[in-house]
Amino acid sequence: MSEENHTNYVKIWALLVVLLAISVLGPMLEIEIVTLLTAFGIAFVKAYLVAKHFMHVNLTPRFVPYLMATCLVFMLLFVTATAPDIYKSEGTNWKKTAEWQYMPPQTADHGGEAEHH
C-alpha cells in the first residue's frame, strides 16, 4: 500500500479532466466514429483510471477484479442474448409493428435554453 501512496492523485485527476474535455469536444466534429471513440472509448479509459488509481482494484486480492469482471460479463451475456428480441425490430417469423418507433407529437418547448447550449 505504502508504495502506491505516492501516486500523484492530483495528476490522475488532471488527466481525467483532460479526457472529459476531449469526450465533450470530440463529438462536436460530428463524425460518427469520432463520437463513438471519444464518448465511449474515453468513458472506458476514465473508468479504468478511477478503478485502478482511486479504487486500487489492482491492490486487492485477485478475486475482486475477477468478481467485477464476472458481473460485467454476465451483463454482456444478458444484452447479447436479449438483443435479438429487443434491439432488432424483426426476426425469424416475427416483426414489430410500426408503434415500436413511436415518438409522441413534439409538445416540448424547443425555444428553451437547453437547446441553445
Partner: protein
C-alpha cells in the same frame, strides 16, 4: 443489546449473565444475535407458509368443486383466483423458500459451522430481517386495497401488470411489486453478510475444503442471487414507473417492448431456482453423511458441480420464453445450455446416491426427509427435460405439466428441505429432541399425499390442461368427467396433506416444552455447531473452536468412534 461478560466477572457467571436479563424487546425483537434473527426468519417464513398453504387450499377447492363457497374463504371469484395463484407462487418462493432456506438456515448455520460468534455485521443482519418483515406486511396489505391483490401471475408480465385498465388492480400490482423489491433489498443485505462471514470469519484452520457443503451451498446461492437480481431490480423500478407514472418502458403502443421484462425477469428467475435449490441440497448433504455415517462421495465433485451449475444457471433463462415470442433461432442455444445444466445436477444426484454405498444407514426422521428429497427431486429433475427441450415445450408450455414439474422441484426444496433441516437441527436450536414417532407419522402423511397431488397433475398437463384457469367449463375438451375426477383426487390429497401438518405443529410445540433434553451432539455429527451447548449461548462458544480436518470424517478406520469432530486435534 446483550453485552459480553465483563472480564472481571467470575467464570460461574457465564450461565446466567453477570447482569440483568435483557428485556423482552431487546432479546426477541431487536436482537442482533444471529440465532435469534434466524428464528425470526424461520417463524416469519412458517407463518407465510401457512398463508400460502391456505391459498392453495382455497383455489384447489375451487378447481375441484367450481363455484362452491370455500369454508373459511367464501366464493372464489376469477379476480380472487388470479390473486390467489399469483400470491401463492410469490409467497412460497420469495417469502417461504428464501427466508427459511437461505436466511434462517444461513443465519443459524454460517456462524456456528464456521466457528465464530456472530455474523460479521449483526446490525445489518437485523436490518435485513426488518426490511424482510416489512416486505411481508406490505405484500399482505395488497389484498386489502381497492381493487384487491395483484393477479397477473408471479412473473408479472406486462402489459397486463403495467396498466390498471388491463389488470383491474390499480394499487395491488404496485404494492405487490414494491413488496418484491423490498424483499430483494433485504436479501441483498443479508446475502452480502452471509458471503462476507463465510469468507472472512472462519475458525482458525478451516481451509476452503474444510467448509461444510451446506455453507458452500448457501454462500454460492447468495452469490447467484446477488449477481442475478440487479436487472430485475432495475426492471421493477421501470415497471412501477409504468404503473404509477405512465411511462412506456414496456408499453408496445408507445415504443416499449413487453418482452424486455420477460428477459429481465427470467435472467433473475432462473438462477433464483438454484438460489433456493442449493441450500436444500446442502442440508441434504449434511443429513445423509451423518445418518449414513459416511464421508461424502467426493466433496470436491459436489463443490465443482455446484459451481458449474451456478455459472450455467445464468445461461439458460430464455427456456422459460421459448414460445413467448423470442426469436425461434435463440431457442436452439437455450435448449443446448438447458440440457447442459442437467449434467452437473445429475452428477450431484449420483454423488448423493453413491454416498449411501457402504454406509450404515439410520432411518431417523431427518434422514427420511433427506432421502425423500433426493427421491422426489429426481422426478422434478427428469420432468424438466421435457420442458427444457424446445420441441416438446411447444406442447407443455403453461400446462399443468409445467406446474407439476416445478412443484416437484419446489416442494422438495421448500417443504422437504425445510423439514429436513428443522428436524435435524431442532435439538441444537431449542435444546430438546423432537418426538421421532410423531415425526415419522408427519413424514409419511406429507410425502404420500404430496405424490397424489402432483402425479395426477402431470396427466392433466399431458391432456392439454392449461394453467391459471379458475373454471374449465368454458373448454369442452378440459371438462371431461375423468379430468374433473383427477382434479378432485388432487384436491383431496392436498386436504389430507394439509391436515397432517397439524401433527407437525403439535409435535413442534410439545417437543419445545416437554421434549427430552438434547445433549451437545445427539446425532454424533462432526461439524462445529455440535461442539457447543444446545441451544448455543450468546457468543456461541466460551472459547472459539479451531479446526483440524474436513467435516465428513465418519467411520475413519482405526478409531474407536465412528465420527471425528472437526475441532478435535486427534
Amino acid at each position: 443489546m446483550a453485552e459480553s461478560i465483563p472480564s472481571d466477572a467470575p467464570a460461574v457467571a457465564d450461565d446466567h449473565h453477570g447482569h440483568e436479563e435483557p428485556s423482552f424487546w431487546s432479546k426477541y425483537v431487536f436482537s442482533t444475535d444471529h440465532k435469534m434473527i434466524a428464528m425470526q426468519y424461520m417463524f416469519t417464513g412458517m407463518a407465510m407458509a401457512v398463508i400460502g398453504g391456505f391459498m392453495a387450499y382455497a383455489f384447489r377447492l375451487q378447481l375441484a368443486f367450481p363455484g362452491i363457497e370455500v369454508p373459511g374463504f367464501g366464493i372464489v371469484t376469477p379476480a380472487n383466483y388470479n390473486a390467489l395463484v399469483t400470491n401463492h407462487g410469490a409467497i412460497m418462493i420469495f417469502w417461504v423458500a428464501m427466508p427459511v432456506l437461505i436466511a434462517a438456515f444461513g443465519n443459524y448455520l454460517i456462524p456456528l459451522m464456521c466457528g465464530c460468534d456472530d455474523m460479521v455485521f449483526p446490525k445489518l443482519n437485523r436490518l435485513s430481517y426488518q426490511i424482510f418483515l416489512l416486505s411481508a406486511l406490505v405484500l399482505l396489505s395488497s389484498f386489502f386495497v381497492e381493487g384487491g391483490g395483484f393477479g397477473g401471475g408471479w412473473t408479472a408480465y406486462p402489459p397486463l401488470s403495467a396498466k390498471a385498465e388491463y389488470s383491474l388492480t390499480p394499487l395491488g400490482s404496485s404494492i405487490w411489486l414494491g413488496a418484491v423489491a423490498l424483499e430483494f433489498v433485504a436479501f441483498l443485505i443479508g446475502g452480502i453478510n452471509f458471503i462476507t462471514t463465510a469468507m472472512n470469519s472462519r475458525a482458525p484452520g478451516m481451509k476452503l475444503y474444510d467448509i461444510p457443503i451446506v455453507i458452500w451451498m448457501i454462500v454460492i446461492a447468495s452469490i447467484l442471487f446477488l449477481v442475478s437480481v440487479g436487472p430485475l431490480i432495475a426492471g421493477a423500478i421501470m415497471l412501477i414507473f409504468d404503473q404509477q407514472l405512465g411511462t412506456a418502458f414496456f408499453d408496445p403502443a408507445r415504443g416499449g417492448d413487453p418482452v424486455l421484462w420477460q428477459h429481465l425477469f427470467w435472467f433473475f428467475g432462473h438462477p433464483e431456482v438454484y438460489v433456493v435449490l442449493l441450500p436444500a441440497l446442502g442440508i441434504t448433504a449434511e443429513i445423509i453423511t451423518v445418518f449414513a455415517r459416511k464421508k461424502l462421495f467426493g466433496y470436491k465433485t459436489v463443490l465443482h458441480t455446484t459451481i458449474a451449475t451456478g455459472v450455467l444457471s445464468f445461461t439458460v433463462w430464455a427456456h422459460h420464453q421459448f414460445i413467448s415470442g423470442v426469436d425461434p433461432r435463440m431457442a436452439h442455444v437455450f435448449t443446448l445450455t438447458t440440457l447442459l445444466i442437467s449434467v452437473p445436477i445429475a452428477e450431484m444426484m449420483f454423488v448423493y446416491i453413491a454416498t449411501l454405498y457402504g454406509g450404515s444407514i439410520r432411518l431417523t426422521t431427518p434422514m427420511l426427509w433427506g432421502l425423500s428429497f433426493i427421491a422426489e427431486f429426481l422426478i422434478g429433475g427428469v420432468t424438466g427435460i421435457f420442458l427444457g427441450a424446445s420441441g416438446s415445450d411447444i406442447y407443455f408450455h403453461d400446462t399443468y405439466f409445467v406446474l407439476a414439474h416445478f412443484h416437484y422441484t419446489f416442494f422438495p426444496i421448500a417443504i422437504i428441505g425445510t423439514f429436513a433441516g428443522l428436524t435435524f437441527w431442532f435439538p441444537k436450536m431449542f435444546g430438546r429432541m423432537m418426538n421421532d414417532r410423531l415425526g415419522k407419522i408427519h413424514f409419511w402423511g406429507t410425502i404420500i399425499p404430496f405424490n397424489f397431488i402432483f402425479i395426477p397433475l402431470f396427466v392433466l398437463g399431458m391432456g392439454g390442461q392449461h394453467r391459471r384457469i379458475f373454471d374449465y367449463s368454458n373448454f369442452p375438451e378440459l371438462s371431461q368427467p375423468w379430468m374433473q375426477d383427477i382434479r378432485i383426487l388432487a384436491t383431496s390429497a392436498l386436504l389430507i396433506m394439509l391436515g397432517f401438518q397439524i401433527v407437525f405443529f403439535y409435535n413442534f410445540i410439545v417437543s419445545l416444552r416437554r421434549g427430552e433434553k438434547a445433549s451437545k451432539n445427539p446425532w454424533k455429527s462432526n461439524t462445529l455447531e455440535w461442539t457447543t451447548d444446545s441451544p448455543p449461548p450468546h457468543g456461541n462458544w466460551k472459547e472459539l473452536p479451531t479446526v483440524y480436518r474436513g467435516p465428513y470424517e465418519y467411520s475413519v478406520p482405526g478409531r474407536d468412534e465412528d465420527y471425528w469432530p472437526q475441532d478435535q486435534p486427534n
